[in-house]
């Protein structure tokens, strides 16, 4: 109870609370602008977290995370251009409702209500499930942590949409980058090229801003060449959902929120998968399935509650096991580590008030998101219309300033530009940047627990195959790695 009171005290701090509100507003703005992603928003504002004390910065990032997933639905409904991949399914019914049925306010209202409900539902699940899972994880020793980290790395196959092998190559490069600097086990100085800059390792934040924000700026410049203007009908009627709509969508809302939370728990998935699965299930069970694709309220609600419910679910493996499920949660995990909060079961013992503050923060972020969605929707619609040739130069500057402000180092800026340019080219070649980032984040955990396990077993590799939990995670990792390959073989046989 004392921990919860302490957490409430942290949230009630005006700076922290305003940071959360600011984060939600910025997140919605980022989400609703096509071309700006959740990851970009998180990466760009990451450096601001250093100026907050304690969990204040984390609360701001939580706000961005929740707001951006919801924000994607605004442009999906009004312009048929999803602001984030998670909102692609929302266009299927949101855009027809806004344009063919001429009810943009109804579509936006339903999406706001569904997003808020989905987010709150998944936060409640997080609050209930995370401490239980953390209790189990407390029994883990070094071999289990090593196996768990390998399982975390195996999700690279899921985040690599292009090629699994390229995803693995990216992951290995990330793991290698994590070895640069002073080795924590032996004290040896590795791969620093005789520079003092690399003694502390490859700086994570410049790489993060480079591959997620600067590379995206470069991608947006390329996209701008193809489509130069966003035009859309923006006349808005009432946004509060009617009672008849609420009755019609309630079951779908519950089902999709559950699906989204469950999918969020599985590392390597994300809002896009959750929204499509929820949409598919809603269509399968609906009495109005023929109306799907023509502005069906259940379609909008399924997609939006599904993708927003991912937010709470995705934090379960991050907080309890220290395993990020995708790029966004990898950034959040990085932010936690920068603030001295090492995600994992011990976090619940050593930093319980901070964990409760994160729970309450996520809960509040969803409520603030709903309030903003209903009251400030007309303002956010204006944001959708801001020309990209004004936005991109400013975002470019923010990548430079954000990187520099981390360490007041120009070397970080050079590293960011290099990572961004490389990230752009690698993206074009089908590499997943999330794989590289996950490799960097989990690199230290994998190596230290690998070495620690071998010390425990006097150099015997049997330690990884004789402990049940360790074996379970390694088997799950093998299954996750080989899954796409097996699916391919199975698909060919069926064909």
């Amino acid at each position: 109870m004392a921990d919860i009171l302490l957490a409430l005290e942290m949230i009630a701090d005006p700076v922290n609370f305003l940071g959360l509100v600011f984060g939600v507003a910025v997140g919605i703005a980022f989400g609703c602008m096509p071309g700006l992603s959740v990851n970009m928003g998180l990466a760009l504002l990451f450096p601001l977290t250093f100026s907050f004390k304690g969990v204040g910065g984390i609360l701001m990032l939580l706000g961005i995370y929740c707001g951006a997933i919801y924000g994607g639905s605004i442009s999906a409904i009004l312009l048929k251009t999803p602001g984030t991949p998670a909102s692609v399914a929302t266009t299927l019914d949101g855009y027809p409702m806004a344009t063919v049925l001429k009810q943009p306010g109804r579509a936006l209202g339903l999406s706001t209500m569904a997003s808020t409900f989905g987010g709150i539902f998944s936060t409640v699940c997080l609050i209930i499930l995370a401490p239980q899972l953390a209790k189990v994880a407390l029994q883990f020793s070094k071999p289990e942590y090593f196996a768990l980290a390998i399982f975390g790395l195996s999700i690279i196959t899921s985040v690599s949409s292009g090629s699994v092998i390229k995803g693995l190559m990216g992951g290995v490069i990330g793991l290698f980058l994590a070895t640069v600097g002073i080795d924590a086990m032996s004290g040896a100085v590795r791969f620093t090229l005789d520079t003092t800059y690399l003694l502390g390792g490859v700086s994570f934040i410049p790489v993060l801003i480079g591959v997620f924000a600067f590379a995206q700026v470069l991608g947006s410049i390329e996209d701008y060449y193809h489509h130069k203007a966003n035009d859309g009908e923006l006349a808005i009627d009432r946004v509060i959902p009617s009672w008849s709509d609420m009755k019609r969508v309630f079951v779908t809302l519950l089902r999709s929120s559950f699906i989204g939370t469950f999918i969020g728990c599985v590392p390597g998935t994300g809002g896009d998968i959750a929204s499509f699965v929820s949409y598919d299930q809603a269509k399968r069970w609906s009495k109005h399935r023929d109306n799907f694709g023509n502005g069906e309220p259940e379609g909008i609600v399924a997609s939006e509650s599904g993708n927003n419910a991912v937010s709470g679910g995705a934090f379960i493996p991050v907080l309890t096991l220290g395993i990020p499920g995708d790029g966004a949660t990898a950034i959040m995990m990085g932010a936690l580590m920068v603030q001295g909060l090492r995600p994992g079961p011990l976090l619940f013992v050593e930093k319980a008030p901070d964990v409760y503050a994160i729970f309450i923060g996520l809960f509040l972020a969803n409520i603030i998101m709903g309030v903003m969605g209903f009251s400030l929707i007309k303002l956010f619609i204006k944001v959708v219309k801001v020309p990209i040739h004004f936005l991109l130069p400013i975002i470019t500057m923010m990548t430079f300033v954000g990187t520099y402000s981390y360490n007041n180092s120009l070397n970080d800026v050079y590293l960011m530009v290099a990572s961004g340019c490389l990230g752009y080219v690698l993206n074009k070649l089908g590499f997943s940047m999330s794989a590289v980032i996950i490799g960097i984040i989990l690199g230290g955990m994998v190596e230290q627990n690998f070495v620690g396990s071998l010390i425990m077993s006097d150099g015997s590799f049997a330690v990884f195959f004789t402990r049940p939990l360790c074996l379970f995670f390694l088997a799950a990792a093998a299954l996750s790695l080989c899954g796409p390959l097996l699916a391919k073989v199975w698909g060919k046989k069926k064909a």
């Binding site: 601001l48 290995v172 290698f176 070895t179 410049i221 040739h389 500057m397 520099y404 530009v417 074009k428």
Partner: protein, 156 residues
């Protein structure tokens, strides 16, 4: 026209070469098992080997699927990409100018250059956007967060 098969061959050769370099660099560290576990070279050596193996698998799978991958276009030399490369050049130029002219002057030029790259030509709009963006950065980073951005070399 660049296709994915060709790109994959190049990537696998480069990946293999990087893997081999990592193995070579790692072999300069002790790798033997002692009471303190494997030496500091063991893990990076294993990663280099894994990268080499993955590059080899990529090469072989690309060869097996060369017909399908040969039809997949990779846009790296189109007109839109040229703008991206100009943007990369501008970013590098900014990095060089920042230590010479200081952040604010270099940023002013960069914002205008990026807007012009995106075909925006109105002088008033260019200057107002650049000034507004710099004012915002000054207010947030200098006044609020107390970040000292690099000044021009002649003022230091």
């Amino acid at each position: 026209m660049l296709n994915m098969a060709l790109c994959n061959y190049i990537v696998s050769i480069l990946g293999g070469a990087i893997g081999a370099c990592i193995m070579l660099a790692a072999s300069s560290f002790p790798m033997d098992f002692t009471e303190n576990g494997p030496g500091p070279g063991f893990w990076p050596f294993a990663l280099g080997l894994a990268l080499l193996a993955a590059a080899l698998v990529l090469f072989v799978t690309t060869f097996c699927e060369r017909e399908i991958l040969g039809k997949t276009e990779v846009r790296l030399v189109a007109a839109a990409n040229k703008r991206v490369y100009i943007m990369m050049g501008l970013a590098v130029a900014f990095c060089l100018l920042i230590s010479l002219l200081g952040f604010y002057v270099a940023a002013f030029f960069l914002i205008i250059a990026v807007m012009r790259l995106m075909d925006y030509r109105k002088k008033k709009g260019l200057i107002i956007t650049a000034c507004a963006a710099l004012l915002f950065i000054y207010a947030v980073f200098r006044l609020l967060l107390h970040t000292q951005l690099p000044g021009p070399v002649f003022l230091e």
